[in-house]
Subunit: 320 residues, 6 copies
């Protein structure tokens, strides 16, 4: 049987292939007999699944983050696909490549990194350029930047998502440096790259995406400041005030204290980093929401709690 | 005696020239003798002035918005220039050009309009392009767009400021239409041009800038919607839903209801218009704040209430 | 078998009659066998229903808004009536009168309209009176005013609810015009009638109540302003400032910007319209909440999220 | 020389008559010589005054709340009247009637009280009626109700203002009891009368209006609850739950906890009391603001901080 | 069969003993057959239970708050214990001691009361000491103070919890009186004891914890003020201002108006009472949250809505 | 002439001594002649001063932060002392001790440090104790801790204020470690000492108190985290997770994100540090407010904006 992507599954399809367990729950039906609810994922999306036999026994054999071999049948209820599981078996994780089971950025991470480094090399200030290059080319940091998501959910929440987000902002900053010639382009590019770089440590993204202990205790801003301290201490004569300026851009990039920034942006470049970060994130988030619902055939999305509104699903680019 | 600009005035300078009265107050000093406090303006800025003689009599001879011929002496108190007025005389307003006494946009309004129309002509959608051209080329509207400020104070609050703000956003939208290829560029450009166009009627800008009655009663969003209705009704077969889409972009461009938008942005183009409008306004506002204080010799600005912070006055573009 | 109203149904009653489908959901029970949950309505209320056989097949035969012929049995669980469906069949909607399946205002719409027109004719200002009469007697608008609800849910959310709400406020305004003799009674009556009149287009109320595209994109305030423009343009010499005054009453009637008013009320009549609209709506909402729960035998309502409180269910009018 | 009211004073008028000192300040002018700024009042309003001679000596001879005999000259600065004091002398307070120097309600307090008692006697519930009558006819309470203001400033802030406010709400409640026949009219009338009655003790209003210690420490709600306890304890068989219902109306009448109500209104009558109290207060407040500024000849009021807006000063009742 | 505590129950345990019914719900499974969900409690905690047979019949035989004799089997689903009920029978409540089925404070209530009275007797001010003693030794009040919880849920929500909370704060106040010698220790102790004492009447805690009518209508602050009035009226010459000072401490102890305090704390002792009450409550609440989740084997708690965060479950006292 | 403290100055006193210039302003009186307003300080407080002669010339001779020799006369206006300056002369700052002109903590800084170190040495955890000792005994840090204020204004805003605040919290923590035995006392003491230690660098306190560039750009939390990194890196085998735990206590000690904490407290010790820091600061702030106004003879303070209330000025400790 050919392997199908979750996105391509249809009502009545038979399935016999590998999935990542994103969430496992056990609930009790009539007569005390339990059933198992699963959220299974691959690189193209997720699907809900149900298992009704040997629940007790099977539920002990795997955990969230495991890879399962699943046999079953796709059914359509309320316009949503559901996988009725007939058989499942845990697979030794070392024999598979986890990234096959997680959504990926739309472009190759290496391509994006190359484009990013090209922009970095165009920086004029030696110290800032050196600091950023030393960071991106650090053999412990580089592979994490290639893989880290930009968030646990909401936007760019996929492998490579952080790099995608960084590169998108860098290109906008490249434009803004020309559009507003009074802005320091190096600081804009630095902010684009470094504002969320702490997420490589704040998040864990080996099996699904979750927060690390460091992420919960000190957060990505503090982690980024530590990275600046480490890298700057190895650059001879790194300017002390510049180091504080760079840290300020990081510490203020959520824009407001109530969003977790201990500092409000106090110069224009810091403010532009905060606003364009917010802008690119929101565009990506709403695009994801709308894309996810476009297939429903409705003209309006379901109520979206985060934005407190319904979104128009029409493709205006095509329509007008 | 040569005419000097307010910006160029120095301590101990003698002055004998024309100014616009921006604000007149009369206060009482010792023994019940009044003095007059004036804020005088020209195209380069404003200066505080004081008059101590014949206050009663002279204060009846002119009002805010009048042009005065003033003789006096510049003094420096607390690092701020003050003009001690020895003599003043009201000038017949019809003999002067008011715009010589109000700050102007940094580029010629006609140049900006030409660049704007060039962008408008690149729109693909016939109806939107026609609507915008009919608006900008309307002989009643065009001269107002050339002169209107973008706000009463805060940002682009000068003759031509609205057009400057519109053109800046249009260029950003031109970039964004490429950067995010899924966005409808025509709607972005429409929003850039039309979101604040109601300000040509909301504000009065003949002598200083103030709100009109229509501005206070119904506001620039409602005025812009009326303009759409008028212009669209004269375009044969104008699409009804498109008209609502365009109105939605206007009605939602403050982004949040608490900022006066009766609708939250419900598709990406509307959201991008709201966010980039906010972005360009904030950049312009902070630039103005910082530029105004740079001459003080301080490293930090005075406390700014609007942003609830002190701004760094260093020119980072030069420094790093 | 006699037809019973939903309100009159009792535990163990057999049912065989028509209902409107207000909401259909399909969920999965043990062994993957689905069941169907329905919310069925008639003019007296709604009842939850469950169907356990041929779910898959039957769920494809009808949608929300259809009329079904249902056979089944009423059961009481947790003090709430539930209808166990044994058989159901979709009825051709053209053979029934939808309004038989939706709650109605407590009085005849025509009676209410007559009373309303009587008040309108007592207005002193010719232009306002003419504008309102032209609106209410417009053959496209009149039937919608007779049927429109005042809201999608919450208050006066039934056929004729808008008219009921309008008339209630009009009578209060009639009183207030005397109680506060310095207020302009015509403006108060205008506001009472016109503040929500855009809801005839903002809402769709043929099968249940939902928002129209125009409702979501531009909203009832903008729709009402367009109605003023259309009607006023046909009244010779309609005063321009009066038109703005009338629009201001509409644009400010939510009282605060965070409630979606682009303008705060700037004269007393606008403020009174906003406050009495809020007042009549809240009285109606709380009355509905309390009435709905009075039958529970409890002294206090369930927690009400909208008002963030529990309501006392005692009939204080009877008790003291 | 005839005595003039403050309201009737004109530029260049000579003055020689009695005023109440509402506020006294001493400031220092050139050479360390002080001047005195006074706010003087009579029953028709207040006027600013300045004294330049013997400041030191005279400033020790009287305090706020004293009555002065003042000789001086009215001058007009910035469209506001100011009284230049040439001579002043403190008058023995026992020889004058303070109420001649404080604004009064527009009707006789005794007339209002008679009208109020008439409404009270129409209550159906014996216990509530008795409680209210025992309160209003209590020889210690009655004279205070006849004189108390409804607030320190803002609305009905004059002698008799509380009674004026109570009576206005009572009449609205009389109407509402009929308009919404499901409401208990006795509870509405009780709330109208008792919600602010604690202000007779919360405020001191012998010389100007200020808060008492009890007002600051426990407030008018707690004071009213104590009054209920005292009066109800003397009515044989007063219903315990009714007492709590009545207290609830008082404790919830600010409507929201953030406005100082320890309880949110939990039944309709309490909610109606809270909303109509707010309504009548706001109408009175805005009327006062607009009336105060109407004389300025402007079309719009100055910015009003409390309402965060400018008010239209046009008399719409006359205009349309 | 030995009686086990709920806390000690293990997977596969057979159960045959008494429990308190904390919550009963009936839901419908496949084929319209209902099942019953129960929350059962004893002094050590609560457990979820399910019953699948004779649901209809058995659900009519008991209500929340009843004591049941239950036979069944413990099963483990999703790391949580669940009791599958095979048989149940209602027990005559008069034959059991309800407090055996509700969590108790960790110390004997009488011991805590003795320690409390010891502190009270150390007060210096005769009137305050007398008032507090008269309260705590009142034969109607004393047994309620011994049993009342401090809250319906959240913190100290168990029999004796109020006394535990009072005593904890009293000891902190005893320390604070020394640490900040400028504070009046008697007022601090008074506030510690009296701030929440109205909860003895605000809450009902015979079968579970719920609000009384008085609690909902007037609340524990008003109840405490009434207690002060009653007790003070029997102490000869009780100082009037002191009575208001004491009431102020109660009326302001939620610290902010939005938390239901009609008064903000206006002297230091009132502020300290409000802050230490909040502090002790929060410490107890978080301790309970963490203790409840410690057994899960996770390093972080589930998301806690009240505090909007995840808590670290490590025992830091042991670890470092 | 004997030197007097500012606190002891009386009306009509002649003055001839040194003061610190805290604030200098020049304003213009009648005829364009300027006067100078000064705020002068010594260790006991501040006094307003006025100079009327040679203003222009003298105002160029000194700046804020200079020490002046002043001759003049004390006068009393509006119950406030004012110093009329007859003569002034700038003193070479190197000849005086600035700290004689700034308020000092009430105890010797060395005494407080000794008491603090005694508490530090009682810590059980070797790593935490070592980190804190290495910090407090660092020859660059120690003298700053001895002198730093705890804030720019508001609370403990004097030389030694930080140490006073730290020590007060440490003693409370010492108590809390016993009162709540489940808390880790070492973490509480660490938080007490380290939460605000970054203020030694955030603030400049040589001439008056102001923010440093580092303070404005990165703030005291980030500075403290850098100090931890520096000190921990020199302690062999310092536990990585403990370092994050310590940083978390610092990063969360403002309690809420809107108060500038990038992290909310996620374990009890962090929460206790945040709450007790807030508590001790508020007690100190209110004590200062009340002490400052006690001398006014009023029963209530002026309106305090920070706390949005009036404070009772009675000394309750003496009164009851």
């Amino acid at each position: 049987m050919d392997k199908k992507t979750i996105q391509s599954l249809q009502d009545k399809d038979n399935v016999d292939q590998l999935f990542l367990v994103k969430e496992k729950t056990v609930a009790v039906g009539k007569n005390g007999r339990p059933f198992m609810g699963l959220q299974l994922g691959d690189a193209t999306g997720t699907i809900d699944a149900r298992l009704w036999d040997r629940v007790d026994e099977l539920s002990r054999e795997f955990e969230n983050g495991d890879i399962l071999k699943v046999k079953g049948l796709v059914q359509l209820f309320q316009n949503r696909k559901q996988l009725i599981v007939h058989k499942l078996e845990r697979i030794d994780s070392s024999t598979v490549n986890f990234e096959d089971f997680i959504p990926q950025a739309s472009r190759s991470a290496e391509d994006m990194m190359a484009e990013l480094l090209h922009l970095v090399r165009s920086m004029k200030n030696d110290q800032i350029r050196q600091l950023v290059l030393d960071t991106l080319e650090d053999p412990e940091i580089r592979p994490k930047v290639l893989r880290a998501p930009a968030a646990k959910s909401i936007h760019h929440a996929w492998i490579g998502g952080l790099l995608e987000h960084i590169l998108s902002i860098c290109k906008i900053m490249d434009f803004m440096g020309t559009h507003y010639p009074f802005l320091n382009r190096d600081l804009l590019l630095f902010g684009a790259i470094y504002h969320d770089i702490g997420k490589i440590t704040e998040l864990s993204y080996d099996n699904g995406i979750s927060y690390t202990d460091r992420g919960r205790l000190i957060g990505h801003m503090q982690i980024a400041c530590e990275m600046i301290d480490k890298k700057a201490s190895r650059i001879l004569g790194f300017d002390d005030e510049l180091r504080d300026i760079l840290k300020h851009i990081i510490l203020s990039h959520h824009g407001k204290m109530e969003y977790g920034s201990p500092k409000r942006p106090k110069f224009l470049e810091a403010m532009v980093v905060a606003m364009i970060d917010d802008f690119d994130s929101k565009v990506a988030t709403v695009k994801t929401i709308v894309d996810n619902e476009k297939g429903s055939g409705e003209k309006w999305s379901r109520y979206n709690e985060l934005f407190d509104r319904y979104f128009l699903l029409d493709d205006l680019n095509e329509k007008y």
